[in-house]
């Protein structure tokens, strides 16, 4: 009952935020004027905020900005000894620094290190937290550029990437994160610049409990669907997530932007219904997967009538299942429980959320553009079935549009399958696993699903510090992020160039329940036919035993 109440409160909060936040974001990206602080930034980086870019220029801007971020973040870690508040934590080892730089810039926040003994506060605040903001802003910018592709006609301009990134930070992420951080502090989340406190335990031994500027990190880590913990235990740590209230608030934060973006999309294309139908797909799958994970955890009794291994008792089954479902359904990857300890089907459910290519409701920006691309594939097939060249929102889906969509849809499965296949073929991988058999395969499959989807959550159990894992997971994160972004921007450019055809009774109507079913069906079918063999050997084999 308490569990259902949590879900109810969460849904009410999201419903309340959907409209104002969605409308606000639509205004942010259509506003003609700049804030003063933004003008300062534009002057500093010498950008004319009124000039608009072609798809190619937009893509170059996004890529250049991100790669500069990777280099900067890598250097910060490697030069940590020179930085203040480093607490003698030393330079970060090159493999870890490489992997972490990619991980945070790609909005993945996969962590192959222990934060409280590896990263000082300066790297955390100047490096990682900054990327938490800007990587989310990049996702928003790409989603908005694709939306403009649908809205505009007969133009090759998609907007200005710099303006979109800056506004995402100044007008959306920073204000909400600031308020959320204060609220989190009120719920008991730690905010401290000290290295830690020395305590003497009940056994009489003294130890140091690490402290960190957690609240500020925590709010943007959830809001930007980043997920990288400032403490190793992530949101299971009482300093990051002390109680059910903070837990619910964090779940709300990681869902709110992807959910509200459907409204933004609807507003920008001039039909809120179009956004609602996408939200229905996201919400329907989210609820279904929550039911799977929750039931699986509640039924597989290892302790006290439910599977509480690896879960915090203060969150219980409901709080853990809700968090796990939301963190894998968005590309957040923060965890408040150990997914490795979930039952086979519960853990498999979390994995499936990612294998749906993160659209339930997906990451900040990435969720919207991913589901739009799936919708394009669905409309292409269904559109043929009504006897016309398929159109979505008045744009024809021809050879080039389908090619772009296919690149986006197939990048992730290719990366996950290749990565897992390669890793599992190596004899050394068996040594990196905690478990043998199907569960071991789940650990590897989960790792590549997490990296290629820029989720960042770890199943756990797999030691990923070897050069092989650092490199291949790094590549999976890089390609999983930027191949789709380039294809999406190319798609946006193609769409913007087209005239907009007014939809009529002969065109497939989108924004209807039938359309939602179609898109949801496509998501499930694509995931099923691509991953069934792999899943049969991992969670299915384990769960059916």
């Amino acid at each position: 009952m308490a569990g259902l109440a949590q879900v109810a409160v969460l849904l009410v909060l999201l419903a309340a935020a959907w409209r104002p936040l969605g409308d606000w974001m639509a205004r942010v990206y259509t506003d003609e004027s700049d804030w003063r602080v933004e003008r300062v930034v534009y002057r500093l980086v010498r950008v004319d905020p009124r000039s608009e870019q072609r798809a190619s220029t937009y893509a170059v801007a996004v890529l250049a900005f991100s790669f500069a971020g990777i280099v900067l973040l890598y250097l910060l870690q490697r030069l940590q000894t020179l930085l203040p508040w480093s607490f003698d934590r030393g330079a970060v080892e090159s493999g870890v620094a490489f992997n972490t730089a990619i991980s945070f810039v790609t909005n993945t926040n996969w962590q192959s290190y222990v934060p409280e003994t590896t990263m000082g506060h300066t790297v955390q605040l100047v490096g990682l937290t900054v990327q938490n903001f800007v990587s989310a802003a990049v996702g928003l910018a790409v989603a908005v550029a694709l939306t403009r592709g649908f809205v505009r006609s007969r133009t090759d301009r998609l907007g200005n990437a710099w303006v979109d990134i800056v506004r995402g930070c100044t007008r959306i992420l920073l204000p909400i994160a600031a308020v959320a951080a204060v609220v989190l502090v009120a719920t008991g989340v730690v905010m401290s610049l000290r290295a830690g406190v020395d305590v003497i335990g009940a056994d009489g031994r003294s130890s140091t409990i690490a402290l960190a500027p957690a609240a500020s990190q925590e709010s943007i880590k959830e809001l930007g669907t980043n997920g990288g913990g400032i403490l190793n235990a992530n949101a299971a740590h009482p300093f990051e997530n002390p109680n059910p209230v903070s837990n619910l608030l964090e779940i709300f934060l990681l869902l709110v932007i992807p959910v509200a973006l459907t409204r933004t999309f609807g507003r920008m294309v001039g039909s809120v219904r179009q956004g609602v139908s996408l939200l229905a797909v996201m919400g329907g799958l989210w609820v279904a997967m929550l039911a799977v994970i929750w039931t699986a955890e509640a039924r597989s009794a290892s302790f006290a009538g439910a599977n509480l291994e690896g879960k915090e008792v203060r969150f219980g089954i409901a709080g853990s299942a809700l968090f796990a479902n939301s963190t894998t359904g968005t590309s957040t990857g923060a965890v408040n429980s150990l997914h490795d300890s979930f039952s086979a089907l519960g853990g498999g459910g979390a994995m499936l959320n990612m294998l749906f290519s993160e659209v339930t409701p997906g990451g900040v920006g990435t969720g919207l553009y991913s589901i739009l691309v799936v919708a394009i594939v669905a409309v292409f097939l269904a559109g043929l079935m009504v006897g016309r060249t398929p159109e979505y929102l008045g744009k024809r889906l021809g050879r080039r549009e389908v090619t772009c969509a296919v690149v986006v849809v197939l990048t992730m499965p290719a990366l996950v399958l290749l990565g897992t296949g390669l890793a599992i073929a190596l004899p050394s991988t068996a040594d990196a696993m905690t478990n043998a058999g199907p569960h071991g395969l789940s650990e590897v499959l989960y790792a590549y699903a997490s990296a290629a989807n820029n989720n960042g959550s770890a199943f756990g159990g797999l030691t990923v510090t070897s050069g092989f894992f650092q490199t291949t997971l790094g590549i999976a994160m890089l390609l999983g992020r930027f191949l789709p972004i380039v294809a999406v921007l190319a798609l946006a450019g193609l769409l913007a160039r087209q005239p907009r055809v007014e939809p009529g009774p002969g065109t497939l109507s989108t924004g209807t329940p039938l359309f939602s079913v179609l898109v949801a069906g496509t998501i499930v079918l694509v995931a099923a036919i691509t991953f069934l063999p792999a899943l049969a050997l991992s969670p299915l084999a384990e769960g059916l035993a």
């Binding site: 594939v377 292409f380 097939l381 269904a382 043929l384 079935m385 009504v386 006897g387 016309r388 060249t389 008045g394 889906l397 021809g398 050879r399 549009e401 389908v402 090619t403 296919v406 690149v407 849809v409 197939l410 499965p413 290719a414 399958l417 290749l418 897992t420 296949g421 390669l422 599992i424 073929a425 058999g437 199907p438 071991g440 395969l441 005239p499 907009r500 055809v501 007014e502 009529g504 009774p505 002969g506 065109t507 497939l508 209807t512 039938l514 179609l518 069906g521 079918l525 099923a528 036919i529 691509t530 991953f531 069934l532 063999p533 792999a534 049969a536 050997l537 299915l540 084999a541 059916l544």
Partner: protein, 708 residues
């Protein structure tokens, strides 16, 4: 305007009805006979050449898989390996068969066309004779009655009736004359009367018929835009399935049991969209073929596909929306005149009149006033006074003692003929009636008679009886047709040279969405550009040289075969029957082609689910006995399960060939209803059918020693 047909050509409406009766209103095509499969076998075998296979990525993967499994079967023979090898080769063969059958049907059409291209001897103006194949553009040849026209050209001198049945298949005789829109002739047709001089307009081998033969045979078949987009999607899916299968091997190895090459290839072939991959080109060829069966030749598959996308139809009023001629629809007697008197006089004046207007008057009086439709002996003996441009009247002079003379014609002419005997009140009343008819968009015909000059007073001798109203009659069923088109999201625009008032009347009666009245060729062109600017695709028909720019601008331009060379060059389809009503059918064929592609793709992908349930437990049962729970079809052994899936995968191609050729049933309705229906039939059906099919095949396969 269609050409005036001299004899037995089917009127457009009738042709449409015949077509409708044959097909039950749904778009359809000739029956598929199993015999065609056998006939196509040699071609299908020839297509096993890898250079041909590589053009179709999905089938090529199956081809490579077949080679791999065959080699594996030779190295390590077993009943299972050889069975899989054989069925994989059959899968490739069936795919080739689908294409070969479709091409074979096209070839039959081409042969029929080719028969028209007999070797003819052409006679130049100076009397020298040359073989028809040596004529060049600009040559002038003389053709007389009974001779075959040696090549495509334009009549520069003379007038003739021409039998075009060699091209159209209908025994249509049409008038062709120099100058104007009726000057074009096609090589292979026969001059029936008179003598004409023809200027040749096509090089040998490039004539209209030559091009049509090449197109119908599929020799120049280019993939259409949608087909390319679909091929990309299918190729990408194939790559992903390839990855899924290749990476499955290390996962299987990790789990404790590597899979044999034969099993992996079988899995791959079952997963990749072989069904649609095999049928895709057949669907395209069959779409062209279906048009040909309606006597419409498209110059490219792209045009057929564009027809499905059309959202605006420009329809000529005459011949498409209304019958070509005006028909009598009402009688308006003057005050004091009995309507039966008017009917009787009008009938008498029209009995010997063979024009459609005249016949329609007799039909009207027969239908509404019970007068005999046939002339009695006396009446037949009467002297017919034909219509002439000077009198603007027609009628009869009766030889029955009274010496009665009856006339019908233009109001002013009839009044002038009757002279001063008509009182001013009648005169005014007649003019009022005539004006009312005109305002309704009709044509008034006055009807009057003169009796025996000696018998009566002048007032009785010459009487004006009233007005016969002639009007355009909208073809029955056309309003429903437009309703269907509207449901499909297609806007209809009527094109007419009539004034806006008249045009509006017909538009309201026929339910057309919009009207372009007093249309000039420039107006048409402007209208098409305007529609296209709004993102809509436009289809139209035309036959005149001045239609050519509009035909070229339209996305689908159907030129009438009777039209000028310029019109035929400009359009991207030619209707051999010169029946403008067919435009609607052309749109349906285009839509049906797209629907068939989409439906079979959906079916193909949905099939994968059942195949997984067959193959995955079979592969891993030894490793994880619990995966037996996935064997919902209770297939006998792992070998029988895998083989059954492969066999189903091959047989479903053959089973769907007729559907691919005939096209998915298409009834005009809104997109949402179509989608719901097709999703249910081909989506849900695609999930369910293979479960049943594989189960049934397994019942047989399990009996094979070494498998079951």
């Amino acid at each position: 305007m269609t050409a005036p047909t001299v004899s037995t050509s089917r009127p457009p409406a009738e042709a449409e009805q015949v077509h409708a009766a044959r097909t039950g209103r749904a778009v359809g095509a000739g029956a598929f006979r199993p015999r065609q499969l056998l006939d196509a076998l040699p071609t299908a075998l020839r297509k096993l050449d890898p250079r041909h296979q590589v053009r179709n990525p999905v089938v090529f993967v199956v081809w490579v898989g077949s080679v791999v499994v065959t080699v594996a079967a030779i190295l390590d023979p077993s009943v299972f390996a050889w069975s899989i090898a054989v069925w994989l080769w059959l899968t490739v063969l069936f795919a080739n068969l689908a294409e070969a059958v479709a091409e074979g049907r096209g070839r039959a059409q081409a042969d029929a066309l080719r028969a028209t291209r007999t070797d003819t001897v052409a006679r130049r103006e100076d009397g020298t004779e040359v073989p028809g194949t040596e004529l060049r553009v600009g040559d002038r040849v003389v053709v007389e009655a009974g001779e075959t026209i040696p090549g495509d050209g334009e009549i520069v001198e003379g007038i003739a009736t021409v039998d075009e049945s060699a091209i159209t298949g209908e025994s249509a005789q049409v008038v062709r004359e120099s100058g104007g829109d009726l000057s074009s002739v096609t090589g292979g047709t026969t001059v029936l009367s008179d003598r004409v001089v023809v200027r040749i307009t096509a090089e040998p081998g490039e004539s209209f018929v030559d091009r049509m033969i090449a197109l119908v045979e599929g020799a120049q078949r280019q993939k259409t835009p949608n087909e390319i987009a679909l091929t990309i999607l299918l190729a990408a899916l194939t790559i992903v399935f390839l990855l899924a299968v290749v990476t499955l091997q290390p996962m299987a190895g990790y789990s404790g049991r590597q899979q044999s090459l034969v099993v992996l290839v079988a899995l791959l072939v079952c997963l990749i969209p072989t069904t649609i991959g095999a049928l895709l080109s057949a669907i395209g060829i069959a779409g062209m073929d279906r048009l040909v069966q309606r006597n419409v030749l498209a110059t490219s598959g792209r045009a057929v596909e564009a027809a499905g996308d059309v959202s605006t139809l420009l329809l000529d009023k005459t011949g498409t929306i209304t019958y070509g001629n005006r028909r009598a629809t009402a009688l308006h007697p003057l005050p004091g005149v009995d309507v039966t008197d008017l009917a009787g006089a009008a009938r008498l004046a029209s009995l010997a009149d063979t024009t459609p207007e005249g016949r329609s008057i007799v039909e009207l009086t027969a239908a509404e006033h019970g007068l005999p439709a046939e002339a009695s002996t006396d009446e037949a003996a009467a002297e017919f006074v034909p219509f002439s441009a000077t009198t603007r009247m027609s009628g009869v002079d009766l030889d029955d003692g009274d010496g009665r003379e009856v006339r019908k014609g233009a109001v002013a002419s009839v009044l002038a003929w009757l002279g001063d005997a008509v009182p001013d009140t009648d005169r005014a009343e007649l003019e009022r009636l005539a004006r009312e008819v005109s305002e309704r968009g009709g044509t008034p015909l006055a009807c009057g008679l003169v009796s025996d000059p000696g018998a009566y007073s002048p007032e009785d001798r010459s009487r004006v009886l009233g007005v016969v109203e002639l009007s355009d009659v909208v073809k029955p069923g056309i309003a429903e047709r437009f309703g269907e088109l509207r449901a499909m999201g297609i806007k209809t625009i009527m094109i007419t040279g009539d004034n806006p008032v008249t045009a509006r009347v017909i538009a309201d009666a026929s339910g057309v969405d919009d009207v372009l009245a007093e249309a000039t060729p420039e107006d048409k062109l402007a209208l098409i550009r305007r529609e296209q600017a709004g993102g809509r695709m436009v289809a139209m028909t035309g036959d005149g040289t001045n239609d050519a720019p509009a035909l070229a601008q339209a996305d689908v331009g159907v030129a009438m075969s009777s039209g000028t060379t310029a019109a035929k060059e400009a359009g991207n389809m030619v209707d051999l029957d010169s029946d403008p009503t067919k435009l609607i059918g052309v749109v349906e064929v285009g839509k049906q082609m797209l629907v068939t592609r989409g439906a079979l793709t959906t079916f193909s992908l949905a099939n994968d689910l059942a195949k997984y349930f067959a193959i995955l437990p079979a592969m891993f049962l030894a490793l994880y006995p619990q995966l037996g729970a996935l064997n919902v079809m209770q297939l006998a052994t792992p070998e029988s399960a895998i083989l059954s899936a492969v066999i189903f995968n091959a047989l479903v191609i053959v089973a769907l060939i007729p559907l691919a050729l005939r096209g998915v049933r298409f009834r005009p309705s809104s997109a949402d209803r179509l989608l719901r229906r097709n999703l249910l039939v081909y989506g849900l059906g695609g999930v369910v059918v293979p479960f049943v099919g594989i189960f049934l095949i397994d019942l047989v396969v399990r009996l094979v020693p070494g498998i079951g």
